[in-house]
Protein backbone atom coordinates (compact mmCIF):
# COMPACT_ATOMS: atom_id res chain seq x y z
CA UNK A 1 0.00 0.00 0.00
CA UNK A 2 1.54 3.30 -1.11
CA UNK A 3 1.71 6.54 0.84
CA UNK A 4 -1.15 8.05 -1.08
CA UNK A 5 -3.40 5.02 -0.41
CA UNK A 6 -2.42 5.14 3.25
CA UNK A 7 -3.41 8.82 3.35
CA UNK A 8 -6.67 7.96 1.60
CA UNK A 9 -7.41 5.28 4.16
CA UNK A 10 -6.70 7.67 7.02
CA UNK A 11 -8.90 10.32 5.39
CA UNK A 12 -11.74 7.83 4.92
CA UNK A 13 -11.49 6.59 8.50
CA UNK A 14 -11.61 10.14 9.84
CA UNK A 15 -14.52 10.85 7.54
CA UNK A 16 -16.29 7.74 8.89
CA UNK A 17 -15.78 8.81 12.52
CA UNK A 18 -16.84 12.37 11.69
CA UNK A 19 -20.06 11.22 10.08
CA UNK A 20 -20.91 8.88 12.92
CA UNK A 21 -20.34 11.71 15.40
CA UNK A 22 -22.38 14.15 13.31
CA UNK A 23 -25.27 11.68 13.17
CA UNK A 24 -25.02 11.06 16.90
CA UNK A 25 -24.99 14.75 17.88
CA UNK A 26 -27.89 15.49 15.56
CA UNK A 27 -30.00 12.74 17.12
CA UNK A 28 -29.11 13.71 20.68
CA UNK A 29 -29.87 17.34 19.93
CA UNK A 30 -33.29 16.32 18.65
CA UNK A 31 -34.03 14.31 21.80
CA UNK A 32 -32.94 17.20 24.01
CA UNK A 33 -35.09 19.61 22.00
CA UNK A 34 -38.12 17.37 22.57
CA UNK A 35 -37.36 17.10 26.29
CA UNK A 36 -36.97 20.88 26.53
CA UNK A 37 -40.29 21.55 24.78
CA UNK A 38 -42.06 18.88 26.85
CA UNK A 39 -40.81 20.31 30.13
CA UNK A 40 -41.68 23.79 28.84
CA UNK A 41 -45.20 22.63 28.00
CA UNK A 42 -45.71 21.32 31.53
CA UNK A 43 -44.48 24.65 32.87
CA UNK A 44 -46.91 26.50 30.57
CA UNK A 45 -49.77 24.29 31.76
CA UNK A 46 -48.95 24.88 35.43
CA UNK A 47 -48.74 28.65 34.83
CA UNK A 48 -52.12 28.51 33.09
CA UNK A 49 -53.55 26.74 36.19
CA UNK A 50 -54.38 23.53 34.35
CA UNK A 51 -54.76 20.88 37.02
CA UNK A 52 -58.00 19.03 36.26
CA UNK A 53 -58.39 15.29 35.67
CA UNK A 54 -57.91 15.61 31.90
CA UNK A 55 -54.76 17.61 32.41
CA UNK A 56 -53.39 14.99 34.83
CA UNK A 57 -53.57 12.49 31.99
CA UNK A 58 -51.79 14.92 29.72
CA UNK A 59 -49.05 15.48 32.32
CA UNK A 60 -48.52 11.71 32.50
CA UNK A 61 -48.33 11.49 28.70
CA UNK A 62 -45.74 14.26 28.60
CA UNK A 63 -43.70 12.57 31.34
CA UNK A 64 -43.84 9.27 29.39
CA UNK A 65 -42.64 11.09 26.30
CA UNK A 66 -39.73 12.61 28.24
CA UNK A 67 -38.81 9.17 29.60
CA UNK A 68 -38.87 7.80 26.06
CA UNK A 69 -36.49 10.51 24.82
CA UNK A 70 -34.14 9.84 27.74
CA UNK A 71 -34.16 6.11 26.93
CA UNK A 72 -33.45 6.83 23.27
CA UNK A 73 -30.58 9.13 24.28
CA UNK A 74 -29.11 6.56 26.68
CA UNK A 75 -29.24 3.82 24.03
CA UNK A 76 -27.41 6.04 21.60
CA UNK A 77 -24.82 7.00 24.24
CA UNK A 78 -24.21 3.30 24.97
CA UNK A 79 -23.73 2.57 21.27
CA UNK A 80 -21.37 5.50 20.82
CA UNK A 81 -19.38 4.54 23.90
CA UNK A 82 -18.91 0.98 22.64
CA UNK A 83 -18.10 2.30 19.19
CA UNK A 84 -15.42 4.64 20.58
CA UNK A 85 -13.77 1.89 22.62
CA UNK A 86 -13.45 -0.32 19.56
CA UNK A 87 -10.77 2.04 18.28
CA UNK A 88 -8.51 0.84 21.13
CA UNK A 89 -8.77 -2.81 20.12
CA UNK A 90 -7.17 -3.66 16.78
CA UNK A 91 -7.46 -7.40 17.44
CA UNK A 92 -10.03 -8.74 19.79
CA UNK A 93 -12.68 -11.41 20.08
CA UNK A 94 -16.11 -9.92 19.39
CA UNK A 95 -19.63 -10.74 18.29
CA UNK A 96 -20.35 -9.61 14.74
CA UNK A 97 -24.10 -9.26 15.36
CA UNK A 98 -23.56 -6.86 18.26
CA UNK A 99 -21.03 -4.91 16.28
CA UNK A 100 -23.43 -4.59 13.32
CA UNK A 101 -26.38 -3.68 15.55
CA UNK A 102 -24.33 -0.87 17.07
CA UNK A 103 -23.18 0.43 13.69
CA UNK A 104 -26.68 0.39 12.22
CA UNK A 105 -28.10 2.21 15.25
CA UNK A 106 -25.51 4.94 14.71
CA UNK A 107 -26.29 5.01 10.98
CA UNK A 108 -30.04 5.06 11.32
CA UNK A 109 -30.29 8.81 10.86
CA UNK A 110 -28.61 8.64 7.42
CA UNK A 111 -31.15 6.04 6.35
CA UNK A 112 -34.09 7.99 7.78
CA UNK A 113 -32.98 11.08 5.92
CA UNK A 114 -33.24 9.15 2.69
CA UNK A 115 -36.44 7.37 3.75
CA UNK A 116 -34.68 4.02 3.50
CA UNK A 117 -35.11 1.27 6.08
CA UNK A 118 -32.14 -0.53 7.57
CA UNK A 119 -33.08 -4.07 8.51
CA UNK A 120 -31.20 -6.95 10.06
CA UNK A 121 -31.32 -10.66 9.51
CA UNK A 122 -28.81 -12.01 12.01
CA UNK A 123 -28.02 -15.65 12.48
CA UNK A 124 -28.29 -16.47 16.16
CA UNK A 125 -25.42 -18.16 17.99
CA UNK A 126 -22.84 -16.78 15.60
CA UNK A 127 -19.33 -17.61 16.83
CA UNK A 128 -17.23 -14.72 18.09
CA UNK A 129 -14.47 -13.77 15.71
CA UNK A 130 -10.92 -12.60 16.38
CA UNK A 131 -10.52 -9.52 14.26
CA UNK A 132 -10.44 -5.71 14.17
CA UNK A 133 -14.02 -4.55 14.98
CA UNK A 134 -13.41 -0.87 14.18
CA UNK A 135 -12.00 -1.73 10.76
CA UNK A 136 -14.92 -4.06 10.08
CA UNK A 137 -17.44 -1.37 11.03
CA UNK A 138 -15.63 1.10 8.80
CA UNK A 139 -15.87 -1.30 5.87
CA UNK A 140 -19.57 -2.05 6.38
CA UNK A 141 -20.26 1.67 6.86
CA UNK A 142 -18.69 2.43 3.46
CA UNK A 143 -20.79 -0.22 1.74
CA UNK A 144 -24.06 0.72 3.43
CA UNK A 145 -23.47 4.43 2.74
CA UNK A 146 -22.90 3.65 -0.89
CA UNK A 147 -26.13 1.69 -1.07
CA UNK A 148 -27.99 4.50 0.72
CA UNK A 149 -26.82 6.99 -1.89
CA UNK A 150 -27.80 4.74 -4.76
CA UNK A 151 -31.27 3.71 -3.67
CA UNK A 152 -34.51 5.57 -4.10
CA UNK A 153 -36.70 6.43 -1.13
CA UNK A 154 -38.84 3.69 0.41
CA UNK A 155 -36.15 1.12 -0.33
CA UNK A 156 -34.49 -1.04 2.28
CA UNK A 157 -31.11 -2.49 3.01
CA UNK A 158 -30.86 -5.74 4.92
CA UNK A 159 -27.68 -6.61 6.77
CA UNK A 160 -27.54 -10.36 7.08
CA UNK A 161 -25.06 -12.43 9.02
CA UNK A 162 -24.44 -16.15 8.80
CA UNK A 163 -21.92 -18.78 9.70
CA UNK A 164 -20.19 -20.60 6.90
CA UNK A 165 -17.65 -23.32 7.79
CA UNK A 166 -14.92 -21.59 9.72
CA UNK A 167 -15.96 -18.11 8.79
CA UNK A 168 -18.70 -15.54 9.28
CA UNK A 169 -20.38 -13.78 6.38
CA UNK A 170 -21.97 -10.33 6.38
CA UNK A 171 -24.19 -9.51 3.43
CA UNK A 172 -25.65 -6.10 2.60
CA UNK A 173 -28.67 -6.64 0.42
CA UNK A 174 -30.39 -3.64 -1.20
CA UNK A 175 -34.04 -3.85 -2.18
CA UNK A 176 -35.62 -1.02 -4.12
CA UNK A 177 -35.15 1.18 -7.13
CA UNK A 178 -31.71 2.46 -7.94
CA UNK A 179 -30.96 6.12 -8.57
CA UNK A 180 -28.00 7.81 -10.18
CA UNK A 181 -25.60 9.14 -7.58
CA UNK A 182 -22.20 10.75 -7.68
CA UNK A 183 -19.52 8.41 -6.48
CA UNK A 184 -17.91 9.72 -3.34
CA UNK A 185 -14.32 9.24 -2.30
CA UNK A 186 -15.72 6.98 0.39
CA UNK A 187 -16.20 4.23 -2.19
CA UNK A 188 -12.69 3.37 -3.16
CA UNK A 189 -12.51 -0.29 -4.22
CA UNK A 190 -8.73 -0.35 -3.74
CA UNK A 191 -9.02 0.81 -0.14
CA UNK A 192 -11.83 -1.64 0.56
CA UNK A 193 -9.79 -4.50 -0.86
CA UNK A 194 -6.86 -3.46 1.27
CA UNK A 195 -9.01 -3.35 4.42
CA UNK A 196 -10.57 -6.73 3.73
CA UNK A 197 -7.09 -8.18 3.19
CA UNK A 198 -6.06 -6.82 6.59
CA UNK A 199 -9.07 -8.56 8.09
CA UNK A 200 -8.10 -11.75 6.25
CA UNK A 201 -11.42 -11.86 4.47
CA UNK A 202 -12.91 -11.71 1.04
CA UNK A 203 -15.47 -9.48 -0.71
CA UNK A 204 -18.02 -10.91 -3.04
CA UNK A 205 -20.13 -8.39 -4.94
CA UNK A 206 -23.12 -9.29 -7.01
CA UNK A 207 -25.18 -6.73 -8.85
CA UNK A 208 -28.57 -8.09 -7.76
CA UNK A 209 -27.67 -9.38 -4.32
CA UNK A 210 -25.47 -6.64 -2.95
CA UNK A 211 -22.16 -7.19 -1.25
CA UNK A 212 -21.03 -10.05 0.90
CA UNK A 213 -17.99 -10.03 3.15
CA UNK A 214 -16.58 -13.30 4.37
CA UNK A 215 -14.38 -13.16 7.46
CA UNK A 216 -12.43 -16.01 9.03
CA UNK A 217 -13.24 -16.71 12.65
CA UNK A 218 -9.55 -16.04 13.36
CA UNK A 219 -8.00 -13.08 11.60
CA UNK A 220 -4.61 -14.09 10.19
CA UNK A 221 -1.50 -12.14 11.17
CA UNK A 222 -0.97 -9.44 8.60
CA UNK A 223 2.10 -7.51 9.60
CA UNK A 224 1.92 -4.83 6.96
CA UNK A 225 1.96 -2.17 9.64
CA UNK A 226 -0.35 0.10 7.68
CA UNK A 227 -3.64 -0.96 9.12
CA UNK A 228 -4.48 2.53 10.43
Amino acid sequence: MGNSDREDLRFLQLNFIGRILAGFTHEINNYIAIIKESVGLMGDMIKAGKSGKNESRQYLEIIASIEEQIERSLDLFRYLNRFAHKMDMPRVSFNVNESMEELLALMNRFANQRKIRLETDFQKDLPSIQSDPAMLQFLVFCFVREKLDRLDKNSRITVKTARRDNSVTIAMIPQGNRVEAETERLYSPEIHEHVIRLLGGEILEREDQGIQITLPVNMPDVSSGDGG
Partner: protein
Protein backbone atom coordinates in the same frame (compact mmCIF):
# COMPACT_ATOMS: atom_id res chain seq x y z
CA UNK B 1 -62.27 34.35 23.37
CA UNK B 2 -59.38 36.25 21.86
CA UNK B 3 -59.08 35.78 18.09
CA UNK B 4 -55.88 34.07 17.01
CA UNK B 5 -54.84 36.25 14.14
CA UNK B 6 -51.42 34.84 13.25
CA UNK B 7 -51.42 31.55 11.37
CA UNK B 8 -48.28 29.51 11.92
CA UNK B 9 -47.19 26.24 10.34
CA UNK B 10 -44.58 24.21 12.24
CA UNK B 11 -42.70 21.83 9.92
CA UNK B 12 -40.51 19.17 11.52
CA UNK B 13 -40.07 15.44 10.93
CA UNK B 14 -39.80 14.81 14.69
CA UNK B 15 -43.52 14.43 15.31
CA UNK B 16 -43.33 14.79 19.10
CA UNK B 17 -41.23 17.92 18.76
CA UNK B 18 -43.56 19.50 16.20
CA UNK B 19 -46.69 18.66 18.20
CA UNK B 20 -45.29 19.88 21.52
CA UNK B 21 -43.96 23.10 20.05
CA UNK B 22 -47.30 23.67 18.31
CA UNK B 23 -49.15 23.18 21.57
CA UNK B 24 -46.91 25.70 23.36
CA UNK B 25 -47.38 28.26 20.59
CA UNK B 26 -51.16 27.73 20.68
CA UNK B 27 -51.07 28.58 24.38
CA UNK B 28 -49.53 31.87 23.30
CA UNK B 29 -52.56 32.75 21.20
CA UNK B 30 -51.21 31.70 17.86
CA UNK B 31 -53.17 29.63 15.35
CA UNK B 32 -50.78 26.72 14.77
CA UNK B 33 -50.77 23.77 12.39
CA UNK B 34 -48.14 21.08 11.85
CA UNK B 35 -46.58 19.21 8.95
CA UNK B 36 -44.08 16.39 9.30
CA UNK B 37 -42.17 16.60 6.03
CA UNK B 38 -41.54 18.98 3.15
CA UNK B 39 -44.17 17.62 0.79
CA UNK B 40 -46.83 17.74 3.49
CA UNK B 41 -45.80 21.29 4.33
CA UNK B 42 -46.26 22.45 0.73
CA UNK B 43 -49.63 20.80 0.48
CA UNK B 44 -50.79 22.43 3.74
CA UNK B 45 -49.52 25.81 2.60
CA UNK B 46 -51.59 25.51 -0.56
CA UNK B 47 -54.74 24.97 1.48
CA UNK B 48 -54.12 27.21 4.46
CA UNK B 49 -51.59 29.90 3.46
CA UNK B 50 -50.04 30.46 6.89
CA UNK B 51 -48.51 33.82 7.75
CA UNK B 52 -45.37 32.34 9.22
CA UNK B 53 -43.70 28.98 8.74
CA UNK B 54 -41.30 27.54 11.33
CA UNK B 55 -39.21 25.17 9.25
CA UNK B 56 -36.67 22.46 10.08
CA UNK B 57 -33.89 21.87 7.55
CA UNK B 58 -32.82 18.25 7.79
CA UNK B 59 -35.91 16.24 7.05
CA UNK B 60 -36.38 12.93 5.25
CA UNK B 61 -37.15 13.35 1.57
CA UNK B 62 -37.47 17.03 0.74
CA UNK B 63 -34.82 19.15 2.50
CA UNK B 64 -35.99 22.29 4.31
CA UNK B 65 -33.95 24.46 1.95
CA UNK B 66 -35.93 23.10 -1.01
CA UNK B 67 -39.16 23.87 0.84
CA UNK B 68 -37.94 27.43 1.44
CA UNK B 69 -37.10 27.83 -2.24
CA UNK B 70 -40.57 26.63 -3.26
CA UNK B 71 -42.26 28.92 -0.74
CA UNK B 72 -40.34 31.98 -1.90
CA UNK B 73 -41.30 31.22 -5.49
CA UNK B 74 -44.97 30.41 -5.06
CA UNK B 75 -45.92 32.21 -1.83
CA UNK B 76 -43.55 35.16 -1.28
CA UNK B 77 -45.88 36.62 1.38
CA UNK B 78 -45.23 33.75 3.79
CA UNK B 79 -42.46 34.48 6.27
CA UNK B 80 -40.15 31.55 6.94
CA UNK B 81 -38.20 31.08 10.16
CA UNK B 82 -35.66 28.28 10.03
CA UNK B 83 -35.46 26.26 13.25
CA UNK B 84 -32.77 23.64 12.94
CA UNK B 85 -30.66 21.42 15.16
CA UNK B 86 -27.53 21.29 13.08
CA UNK B 87 -27.43 23.98 10.50
CA UNK B 88 -24.02 25.21 9.44
CA UNK B 89 -22.97 28.84 8.85
CA UNK B 90 -23.29 28.05 5.16
CA UNK B 91 -26.89 26.91 5.70
CA UNK B 92 -27.63 30.12 7.56
CA UNK B 93 -26.20 32.25 4.75
CA UNK B 94 -28.12 30.24 2.16
CA UNK B 95 -31.39 30.53 4.09
CA UNK B 96 -31.00 34.28 4.36
CA UNK B 97 -30.01 34.57 0.71
CA UNK B 98 -33.19 32.70 -0.22
CA UNK B 99 -35.24 35.16 1.80
CA UNK B 100 -35.71 33.30 5.08
CA UNK B 101 -36.88 35.76 7.75
CA UNK B 102 -34.67 34.38 10.52
CA UNK B 103 -32.51 31.44 11.43
CA UNK B 104 -32.71 29.88 14.89
CA UNK B 105 -30.91 26.95 16.46
CA UNK B 106 -32.91 24.14 18.06
CA UNK B 107 -33.82 24.02 20.92
CA UNK B 108 -34.83 27.68 20.92
CA UNK B 109 -36.25 29.65 23.79
CA UNK B 110 -40.04 29.69 23.32
CA UNK B 111 -40.42 33.38 24.19
CA UNK B 112 -37.71 34.25 21.70
CA UNK B 113 -39.38 32.14 19.02
CA UNK B 114 -42.77 33.71 19.74
CA UNK B 115 -41.18 37.17 19.51
CA UNK B 116 -39.66 36.28 16.12
CA UNK B 117 -42.99 34.93 14.84
CA UNK B 118 -44.80 38.13 15.84
CA UNK B 119 -42.03 40.24 14.35
CA UNK B 120 -42.18 38.25 11.09
CA UNK B 121 -45.96 38.70 10.96
CA UNK B 122 -45.65 42.44 11.65
CA UNK B 123 -43.16 42.79 8.83
CA UNK B 124 -45.48 40.84 6.53
CA UNK B 125 -48.37 43.17 7.34
CA UNK B 126 -46.21 46.26 6.86
CA UNK B 127 -45.02 45.01 3.50
CA UNK B 128 -48.59 44.33 2.43
CA UNK B 129 -49.66 47.82 3.58
CA UNK B 130 -46.81 49.40 1.66
CA UNK B 131 -47.76 47.38 -1.38
CA UNK B 132 -51.36 48.56 -1.10
CA UNK B 133 -50.22 52.18 -0.76
CA UNK B 134 -48.04 51.87 -3.87
CA UNK B 135 -50.82 50.11 -5.75
CA UNK B 136 -53.18 52.96 -4.89
CA UNK B 137 -50.66 55.37 -6.34
CA UNK B 138 -50.67 53.18 -9.43
CA UNK B 139 -47.01 52.30 -9.34
CA UNK B 140 -47.55 48.61 -8.68
CA UNK B 141 -50.45 46.38 -9.47
CA UNK B 142 -50.28 44.01 -6.52
CA UNK B 143 -48.41 43.26 -3.33
CA UNK B 144 -46.66 40.48 -5.19
CA UNK B 145 -45.25 43.00 -7.69
CA UNK B 146 -43.66 45.09 -4.99
CA UNK B 147 -42.14 42.02 -3.40
CA UNK B 148 -40.69 40.99 -6.72
CA UNK B 149 -39.22 44.49 -7.05
CA UNK B 150 -37.71 44.18 -3.58
CA UNK B 151 -36.20 40.79 -4.40
CA UNK B 152 -34.51 42.28 -7.47
CA UNK B 153 -32.68 44.80 -5.26
Amino acid sequence: MKRKEIKVLVVDDEVTFADTLAQRLKMRDLDVGTAYDGEQALSRVKKEEPDVMVLDLKMPGMHGMEVLREIRKAYPDIQVIILTGHGTDKDEEEAKRLGGFDYLKKPADIDHLEHKIRKAFKEKVERAMTAIAFAEEGEFETARDIMKEEEKK
